[in-house]
């Protein structure tokens, strides 16, 4: 059976057009990802700002087109879908975004988000049926009531807004939900609630998630697989626990070392020298490993060729770093 989502050699390049004065930016390069249909999983795409993780979300959601490569959903290439297939795809691949306020049209009551999907996807044959469906999905996220639907977005709290987005996504019973930083703008108390809904939808409803985040700790708590992006390329990937407990790529090690430990007696670890000028680090090299300028363990060969993913552990734990060339075999 074809996997649910299969991304092959996805590359996205911005800018550099004829009339464009902006420089060429490679947002994503030769990116591969496979999500199986069952069991449902939460796949984390993590990285800093500018790593290409949001580009990936936009690509999967069809907001922007690939420069090269393919995104294949259940055997159908996204770029070649017919109109009807695209509508089906829309229904089955949904999203939850970072800012739970901006996703509501301020002109309409919050009910509008449900009306839209009911109308466009012809989900209900009667008003009563529609109401029941909305009621049902609101219950799943722990909300109740006609009253809340009649409000305007600014009258709801941030947590309510985000939960209602979860309810909307749930109502469509999608196969895949792209969750683009869904908890980075909510308080700690609500964060757990949103993450819990994600876990329940995965386990009880069989929905898979593409969890896009910069926060490795929440990824560690709920994620199954993880891909760590650095400037458009995968630095390290594998099972979340394996990667975070035993990182191999120097970049991932740096990331994890930099997370402040909630314990005053354990100060920031690692070598302070790794924290070189953060802005110099943004400048990537043209050829070779993109992490070269920041890497503490860089070698000459890192400049000559782009490192392939090397297997560094069980269950497809790969790191794109020449440090593992001798001890691991090159993947095909």
């Amino acid at each position: 059976m074809a996997p649910l989502l299969d991304i092959k050699k996805a590359t996205k390049i911005y800018g550099g057009g004829m009339l464009s004065a902006s420089p060429v930016t490679v947002a994503l390069q030769d990116y591969d990802l496979t999500i199986e249909e069952s069991p449902a999983t939460i796949t984390t795409i993590a990285g800093e700002s500018g790593s290409g993780k949001s580009t990936l979300a936009n690509l999967v959601l069809g907001f922007t087109d690939l420069t090269s490569g393919q995104i294949i959903y259940r055997g159908r290439n996204l770029a070649e879908m017919t109109a009807q297939e695209r509508i089906d795809y829309r229904r089955e691949v949904q999203a939850v975004f970072q800012d739970p306020y901006a996703v509501y049209n301020p002109f309409y009551r919050v009910k509008h988000v449900f009306d839209l999907i009911i109308r466009n996807f012809k989900m209900a044959s009667s008003k009563a049926e529609a109401r029941d469906m909305i009621e049902d999905s609101l219950n799943v996220v722990g909300m109740r009531g006609e009253e809340v639907l009649e409000k305007y977005p600014h009258q709801l709290s941030g947590g309510q807004r985000q939960r209602m987005m979860m309810a909307r996504a749930y109502m469509l019973k999608p196969k895949l939900i792209v969750a683009d930083e869904p908890v980075s703008m909510v308080d700690a108390s609500l964060r757990a609630m949103i993450l819990d809904i994600m876990l329940r939808l995965r386990d009880e409803e069989g929905m898979s998630f593409l969890y896009i985040t910069h926060d490795l700790s929440t990824a560690y708590q709920i994620g199954d697989h993880i891909y760590l992006l650095y400037q458009g390329s995968v630095a390290e990937s594998g099972e979340t626990a394996a990667v975070i407990e035993n990182p191999k790529h120097p970049y991932v090690q740096l990331l994890l070392d930099s997370i402040p430990v909630p314990d005053p007696s354990v100060k920031w670890g690692g070598d302070e020298a790794t924290t070189i000028d953060d802005e110099e680090m943004r400048v990537s090299v043209d050829s070779g490993c993109r992490f070269y300028p920041r890497c503490t363990q860089r070698m000459d060969r890192c400049l000559e060729a782009t490192p392939m993913p090397f297997q560094v552990g069980a269950n497809n734990h790969n790191a794109s770093c020449f440090l593992y060339d001798e001890e691991a075999k090159i993947l095909a």
Partner: protein, 346 residues
């Protein structure tokens, strides 16, 4: 992966803080900040009192809307209408800021207390060079200074926060987020203030850059001996940065203690909740579910501010507002759940 445990100079500083105990820089007493709305005053900050000693970093944490930023703005006297300081004293170096007006207030700003703003992205004037924005401050408060001396001083400041000297001639949009934030730090210490308020200094930054900025803050504090109030919601970051931590809920401080003490033992149920909900990269643990801020800040609630969410709520909590009490050495909590020795009553 290695996580080296180094002794931070701040820790040793805490040991001999005894004699410095008297050296209070900032003394806030019963501060109240209200926002007037058509349906009544919102008590954004209600009866907040705390002291900051010379050379220490105080952390102020809580969820959004708890009043932590409003407290900082009140200290800076930057509360915008419809908000107002409704009562209390803000004694900085024995001057009550709440009473200052006009030029007295203007001259106190930045010479005695400065701000590292929340959104460094938008806090720098986009059409002025970094150097001009720092010059602005120095010239305003110190009068005429020769250009050469000024330049030397600014270059020193940039160096102090780890910025290359080319930043001198750059515009804000040419800098990355972390650089802007460090430029703001350089600006904040330009006049050698006694107190720096840092409002979520790292919230919009990537984790590696966050660490760079955090270490810059610690470094600056070490070198200048300046006191700081750091506002944030990231408990991990607080653990790394601050000496003492104040936990705010619904406009009040509910727990205030040295940071080791508070991470070691939390008295207030809200603080317990905050600490438990920190996502960890060390161990997988079940998600701790809780509600957000639940009560209406418009009413002067009778009893404890946390009673609607508290898992241990008692009858007395609905009637009496618990006072701040020291339950351990310098560890203060406002909760009815404990006796004076910090022993849980039920």
């Amino acid at each position: 992966m290695t996580t080296a445990t180094t002794i931070n100079p701040a820790d040793t500083a805490m040991v001999d803080r005894g004699p410095a105990e008297q050296d209070t820089i900032l003394d806030i007493r019963n501060l109240q900040v209200f926002y007037s709305t058509p349906t009544g005053d919102v008590r954004a900050v209600d009866n907040v009192s705390f002291k900051v000693q010379r050379g220490e970093i105080i952390g102020l944490v809580g969820e959004s809307g708890c009043g932590k930023t409003t407290t900082a703005m009140a200290i800076l006297r930057l509360v915008q209408p419809p908000g107002r300081i409704a009562g209390g004293e803000i004694n900085l170096d024995s001057v009550n800021l709440a009473d200052l007006e006009g030029d007295d207030l203007r001259e106190t700003r930045w010479t005695k207390l400065s701000l590292i703003p929340q959104g460094a992205m938008n806090s720098l004037n986009p059409v002025m060079r970094i150097s001009s924005q720092i010059k602005d401050t120095i010239r305003t408060h110190e009068g005429k200074i020769s250009n050469r001396e000024l330049k030397e001083r600014i270059l020193q400041l940039l160096q102090l926060v780890g910025l290359p000297s080319r930043v001198y001639d750059m515009y804000p949009h040419e800098l990355s987020g972390g650089m802007k934030q460090r430029a703001c730090i350089a600006m904040a210490i330009a006049l050698d203030p006694v107190l720096v308020i840092a409002d979520e200094p790292t919230s919009a930054l990537d984790v590696v850059v966050q660490r760079v900025v955090g270490e810059t803050l610690l470094d600056v504090k070490e070198r200048l001996g300046v006191s700081m109030i750091v506002i944030g919601h990231d408990m991990g970051l607080m653990a790394q940065l601050v000496d003492r931590l104040a936990v705010m809920y619904a406009g009040r401080i509910v727990e205030f203690a040295p940071v080791e003490s508070i991470f070691n033992e939390q008295f207030h149920p809200y603080t317990q909740l905050l600490i438990e909900s920190i996502p960890s990269i060390k161990e997988k643990k079940p998600l701790k579910l809780t509600e957000g801020l639940t009560h209406d800040l418009r009413t002067d609630m009778q009893g404890c501010i946390f009673q609607l969410r508290c898992p241990h709520v008692m009858d007395i909590c609905r009637e009496e507002n618990p006072p701040m009490r020291a339950l351990r050495n310098r560890h203060e909590t406002a909760c009815h759940l404990y006796d004076d020795d910090g022993v849980r009553l039920h």
